[in-house]
Protein backbone atom coordinates (compact mmCIF):
# COMPACT_ATOMS: atom_id res chain seq x y z
CA UNK A 1 0.00 0.00 0.00
CA UNK A 2 2.77 2.37 0.90
CA UNK A 3 4.66 1.49 -2.29
CA UNK A 4 1.60 2.08 -4.43
CA UNK A 5 0.47 5.28 -2.70
CA UNK A 6 3.41 7.11 -1.14
CA UNK A 7 1.59 10.44 -0.81
CA UNK A 8 -2.11 9.81 -0.26
CA UNK A 9 -2.89 13.48 0.45
CA UNK A 10 -1.27 14.63 -2.79
CA UNK A 11 -3.01 11.88 -4.77
CA UNK A 12 -6.42 12.74 -3.32
CA UNK A 13 -5.89 16.42 -3.99
CA UNK A 14 -4.92 15.73 -7.61
CA UNK A 15 -7.94 13.49 -8.15
CA UNK A 16 -10.29 16.20 -6.85
CA UNK A 17 -8.54 18.79 -9.03
CA UNK A 18 -9.00 16.53 -12.09
CA UNK A 19 -12.69 16.03 -11.43
CA UNK A 20 -13.28 19.75 -10.87
CA UNK A 21 -11.52 20.62 -14.11
CA UNK A 22 -13.47 17.98 -16.06
CA UNK A 23 -16.67 19.23 -14.40
CA UNK A 24 -18.04 15.74 -14.05
CA UNK A 25 -17.84 12.85 -11.63
CA UNK A 26 -18.44 10.01 -14.07
CA UNK A 27 -16.82 6.62 -13.55
CA UNK A 28 -14.44 7.07 -16.47
CA UNK A 29 -13.18 10.40 -15.17
CA UNK A 30 -12.70 8.96 -11.68
CA UNK A 31 -10.72 5.98 -13.03
CA UNK A 32 -8.53 8.05 -15.36
CA UNK A 33 -7.97 10.74 -12.74
CA UNK A 34 -7.11 8.09 -10.17
CA UNK A 35 -4.48 6.57 -12.47
CA UNK A 36 -2.96 10.01 -13.07
CA UNK A 37 -3.04 10.88 -9.38
CA UNK A 38 -1.30 7.65 -8.36
CA UNK A 39 1.32 7.99 -11.11
CA UNK A 40 2.11 11.60 -10.16
CA UNK A 41 2.30 10.82 -6.45
CA UNK A 42 4.71 7.94 -7.19
CA UNK A 43 6.84 10.30 -9.29
CA UNK A 44 6.71 12.90 -6.52
CA UNK A 45 8.13 10.44 -3.98
CA UNK A 46 11.48 10.81 -5.74
CA UNK A 47 11.47 14.53 -4.86
CA UNK A 48 9.70 14.30 -1.48
CA UNK A 49 11.13 11.17 0.16
CA UNK A 50 9.66 11.63 3.63
CA UNK A 51 6.01 11.00 4.44
CA UNK A 52 3.74 13.93 5.13
CA UNK A 53 1.73 13.21 8.25
CA UNK A 54 -1.14 15.41 9.33
CA UNK A 55 -1.91 14.44 12.91
CA UNK A 56 -4.98 16.59 13.47
CA UNK A 57 -7.03 17.07 10.29
CA UNK A 58 -9.68 19.06 12.17
CA UNK A 59 -7.08 21.55 13.36
CA UNK A 60 -6.15 22.03 9.72
CA UNK A 61 -9.63 23.31 8.95
CA UNK A 62 -9.33 25.66 11.92
CA UNK A 63 -6.02 26.91 10.51
CA UNK A 64 -7.63 27.65 7.14
CA UNK A 65 -10.48 29.57 8.80
CA UNK A 66 -8.14 31.60 11.01
CA UNK A 67 -5.89 32.43 8.06
CA UNK A 68 -8.86 33.40 5.89
CA UNK A 69 -10.22 35.81 8.49
CA UNK A 70 -6.78 37.31 8.98
CA UNK A 71 -6.34 37.79 5.24
CA UNK A 72 -9.69 39.59 4.95
CA UNK A 73 -8.91 41.89 7.86
CA UNK A 74 -5.42 42.63 6.60
CA UNK A 75 -6.76 43.40 3.11
CA UNK A 76 -9.15 46.01 4.45
CA UNK A 77 -6.44 47.53 6.68
CA UNK A 78 -3.94 47.83 3.84
CA UNK A 79 -6.59 49.24 1.53
CA UNK A 80 -7.43 51.98 4.03
CA UNK A 81 -3.73 52.88 4.23
CA UNK A 82 -3.37 52.95 0.44
CA UNK A 83 -6.38 55.21 -0.12
CA UNK A 84 -4.95 57.72 2.31
CA UNK A 85 -3.84 60.86 0.42
CA UNK A 86 -0.25 60.41 1.58
CA UNK A 87 0.34 56.76 2.35
CA UNK A 88 3.00 56.61 5.03
CA UNK A 89 2.94 53.21 6.69
CA UNK A 90 5.40 52.51 9.47
CA UNK A 91 7.00 49.50 7.84
CA UNK A 92 9.81 47.48 9.32
CA UNK A 93 11.79 44.27 9.24
CA UNK A 94 11.34 41.70 11.99
CA UNK A 95 13.66 38.86 12.77
CA UNK A 96 11.72 36.15 14.50
CA UNK A 97 12.74 32.88 16.18
CA UNK A 98 10.74 29.82 15.23
CA UNK A 99 10.38 26.56 17.10
CA UNK A 100 8.84 25.02 14.01
CA UNK A 101 11.24 22.75 12.11
CA UNK A 102 9.09 20.62 9.80
CA UNK A 103 9.63 21.83 6.22
CA UNK A 104 5.99 21.41 5.21
CA UNK A 105 4.79 23.36 8.21
CA UNK A 106 7.32 26.09 7.42
CA UNK A 107 6.12 26.21 3.82
CA UNK A 108 2.50 26.58 4.94
CA UNK A 109 3.44 29.34 7.37
CA UNK A 110 5.41 31.14 4.65
CA UNK A 111 2.51 31.00 2.21
CA UNK A 112 0.01 32.24 4.80
CA UNK A 113 2.21 35.13 5.91
CA UNK A 114 3.01 36.22 2.36
CA UNK A 115 -0.56 35.85 1.11
CA UNK A 116 -1.60 38.24 3.88
CA UNK A 117 -1.10 41.71 2.39
CA UNK A 118 0.27 43.14 5.62
CA UNK A 119 3.30 40.89 5.87
CA UNK A 120 5.85 39.23 3.62
CA UNK A 121 8.18 36.34 4.40
CA UNK A 122 11.63 37.21 3.10
CA UNK A 123 14.28 34.76 4.21
CA UNK A 124 14.56 31.69 6.41
CA UNK A 125 17.85 30.89 8.07
CA UNK A 126 17.99 27.16 8.67
CA UNK A 127 21.14 27.21 10.80
CA UNK A 128 19.68 29.52 13.43
CA UNK A 129 16.01 28.77 12.61
CA UNK A 130 15.04 32.41 12.40
CA UNK A 131 13.01 34.10 9.72
CA UNK A 132 13.14 37.63 8.33
CA UNK A 133 9.69 39.16 7.83
CA UNK A 134 8.75 42.53 6.38
CA UNK A 135 5.64 44.05 7.96
CA UNK A 136 3.65 46.76 6.20
CA UNK A 137 2.19 48.56 9.19
CA UNK A 138 4.28 47.77 12.24
CA UNK A 139 2.95 49.13 15.50
CA UNK A 140 4.39 46.91 18.21
CA UNK A 141 7.07 44.40 17.24
CA UNK A 142 6.78 42.12 20.29
CA UNK A 143 3.02 42.01 20.03
CA UNK A 144 3.20 41.12 16.34
CA UNK A 145 5.61 38.24 17.00
CA UNK A 146 3.46 37.01 19.88
CA UNK A 147 0.36 37.07 17.68
CA UNK A 148 1.99 34.98 14.94
CA UNK A 149 3.34 32.53 17.49
CA UNK A 150 0.02 32.12 19.22
CA UNK A 151 -2.20 32.14 16.17
CA UNK A 152 -0.26 30.07 13.65
CA UNK A 153 2.84 28.46 15.07
CA UNK A 154 1.04 26.73 17.93
CA UNK A 155 -1.55 25.32 15.52
CA UNK A 156 1.08 24.15 13.02
CA UNK A 157 3.10 22.52 15.80
CA UNK A 158 0.01 20.63 16.87
CA UNK A 159 -0.75 19.54 13.31
CA UNK A 160 2.70 18.44 12.17
CA UNK A 161 4.87 17.61 15.18
Amino acid sequence: MRRLLPHPILAGFLLILWLVLQQSAGLGHILFGGVIAIAVSMAASAIIPERVVIRRPLKFIQLILVAGLDIIRSNLAVMSVLFHPRPNPTAGFIEMDLTLKNPFALAILAVILTATPGSAWLEYDRARSTVLIHVFDLVDEDEWVATVKKRYEALLLEIFQ
Partner: protein, 121 residues
Protein backbone atom coordinates in the same frame (compact mmCIF):
# COMPACT_ATOMS: atom_id res chain seq x y z
CA UNK B 1 -25.81 38.64 -21.61
CA UNK B 2 -28.95 36.68 -20.96
CA UNK B 3 -32.33 38.33 -20.81
CA UNK B 4 -33.43 37.92 -17.22
CA UNK B 5 -31.79 37.37 -13.88
CA UNK B 6 -33.07 37.19 -10.32
CA UNK B 7 -32.47 40.47 -8.55
CA UNK B 8 -30.58 38.98 -5.58
CA UNK B 9 -28.15 37.27 -7.93
CA UNK B 10 -27.30 40.39 -9.86
CA UNK B 11 -26.84 42.44 -6.67
CA UNK B 12 -24.65 39.77 -5.05
CA UNK B 13 -22.48 39.28 -8.13
CA UNK B 14 -22.23 43.04 -8.68
CA UNK B 15 -21.14 43.70 -5.09
CA UNK B 16 -18.49 40.97 -5.17
CA UNK B 17 -17.10 42.02 -8.54
CA UNK B 18 -16.93 45.72 -7.67
CA UNK B 19 -15.35 45.15 -4.25
CA UNK B 20 -12.83 42.70 -5.71
CA UNK B 21 -11.90 45.11 -8.50
CA UNK B 22 -11.55 47.93 -5.97
CA UNK B 23 -9.15 45.89 -3.84
CA UNK B 24 -7.12 44.84 -6.86
CA UNK B 25 -6.94 48.43 -8.09
CA UNK B 26 -5.82 49.61 -4.64
CA UNK B 27 -3.00 47.06 -4.72
CA UNK B 28 -1.89 48.19 -8.19
CA UNK B 29 -1.96 51.85 -7.16
CA UNK B 30 0.10 50.90 -4.14
CA UNK B 31 2.67 49.59 -6.59
CA UNK B 32 2.95 53.12 -7.98
CA UNK B 33 2.59 55.21 -4.86
CA UNK B 34 4.75 53.43 -2.30
CA UNK B 35 8.35 54.45 -1.91
CA UNK B 36 10.55 51.37 -1.61
CA UNK B 37 10.58 47.90 -3.12
CA UNK B 38 9.93 46.17 0.20
CA UNK B 39 6.79 48.25 0.63
CA UNK B 40 5.64 47.66 -2.93
CA UNK B 41 5.84 43.91 -2.48
CA UNK B 42 2.68 44.09 -0.37
CA UNK B 43 0.62 45.57 -3.23
CA UNK B 44 0.04 42.63 -5.57
CA UNK B 45 -0.96 40.26 -2.74
CA UNK B 46 -4.21 42.23 -2.38
CA UNK B 47 -5.16 41.36 -5.95
CA UNK B 48 -4.30 37.72 -5.49
CA UNK B 49 -5.82 37.07 -2.09
CA UNK B 50 -9.11 38.84 -1.52
CA UNK B 51 -9.58 40.86 -4.71
CA UNK B 52 -9.16 37.90 -7.00
CA UNK B 53 -11.00 35.65 -4.59
CA UNK B 54 -14.10 37.85 -4.66
CA UNK B 55 -14.16 38.14 -8.46
CA UNK B 56 -13.68 34.40 -8.93
CA UNK B 57 -16.35 33.68 -6.31
CA UNK B 58 -18.75 35.99 -8.14
CA UNK B 59 -18.07 34.15 -11.40
CA UNK B 60 -18.65 30.77 -9.71
CA UNK B 61 -21.97 31.92 -8.20
CA UNK B 62 -23.14 33.46 -11.47
CA UNK B 63 -22.46 30.40 -13.60
CA UNK B 64 -23.79 28.02 -10.96
CA UNK B 65 -27.15 29.80 -10.96
CA UNK B 66 -27.49 30.54 -14.67
CA UNK B 67 -26.33 27.09 -15.84
CA UNK B 68 -28.29 25.35 -13.06
CA UNK B 69 -25.44 23.06 -12.10
CA UNK B 70 -22.44 23.32 -9.82
CA UNK B 71 -19.63 25.30 -11.48
CA UNK B 72 -16.62 25.49 -9.21
CA UNK B 73 -13.66 25.40 -11.55
CA UNK B 74 -12.92 29.04 -10.69
CA UNK B 75 -11.76 27.57 -7.40
CA UNK B 76 -8.85 25.98 -9.24
CA UNK B 77 -7.63 29.35 -10.51
CA UNK B 78 -8.04 30.84 -7.03
CA UNK B 79 -6.05 28.04 -5.38
CA UNK B 80 -3.39 28.22 -8.04
CA UNK B 81 -2.95 32.00 -7.95
CA UNK B 82 -3.12 32.26 -4.17
CA UNK B 83 -0.59 29.50 -3.63
CA UNK B 84 1.88 30.52 -6.33
CA UNK B 85 2.07 34.28 -5.78
CA UNK B 86 3.74 33.91 -2.36
CA UNK B 87 6.35 31.69 -3.99
CA UNK B 88 7.24 34.25 -6.65
CA UNK B 89 7.18 37.10 -4.13
CA UNK B 90 9.54 35.23 -1.80
CA UNK B 91 11.92 34.50 -4.66
CA UNK B 92 11.86 38.14 -5.76
CA UNK B 93 12.36 39.39 -2.20
CA UNK B 94 15.32 37.09 -1.68
CA UNK B 95 16.86 38.19 -4.97
CA UNK B 96 16.41 41.81 -3.91
CA UNK B 97 17.94 41.21 -0.48
CA UNK B 98 20.87 39.48 -2.14
CA UNK B 99 21.44 42.34 -4.58
CA UNK B 100 21.00 45.01 -1.90
CA UNK B 101 23.60 43.33 0.28
CA UNK B 102 26.04 42.96 -2.60
CA UNK B 103 25.62 46.61 -3.52
CA UNK B 104 25.86 47.60 0.16
CA UNK B 105 22.64 49.62 0.23
CA UNK B 106 21.38 51.06 3.49
CA UNK B 107 18.23 50.09 5.33
CA UNK B 108 18.62 46.39 4.65
CA UNK B 109 19.09 43.86 7.43
CA UNK B 110 22.56 42.36 7.56
CA UNK B 111 23.25 38.85 6.49
CA UNK B 112 23.40 36.57 9.55
CA UNK B 113 26.94 35.87 10.76
CA UNK B 114 26.97 32.13 10.25
CA UNK B 115 26.48 32.45 6.53
CA UNK B 116 25.17 29.52 4.59
CA UNK B 117 24.63 29.11 0.90
CA UNK B 118 21.19 30.33 -0.17
CA UNK B 119 19.66 26.88 -0.44
CA UNK B 120 16.05 26.55 -1.32
CA UNK B 121 13.98 25.10 1.53
Amino acid sequence: MIADLPLWLSILVSAFVVLGALLTMAGCFGLVRLKSFYLRIHGPTMGTSMGGGLILLASAIYFTVTRERLVVHELVIFLFVTLTTPVTLMLLARATLFRDRVEGNEGVPKRPEKAETPASP
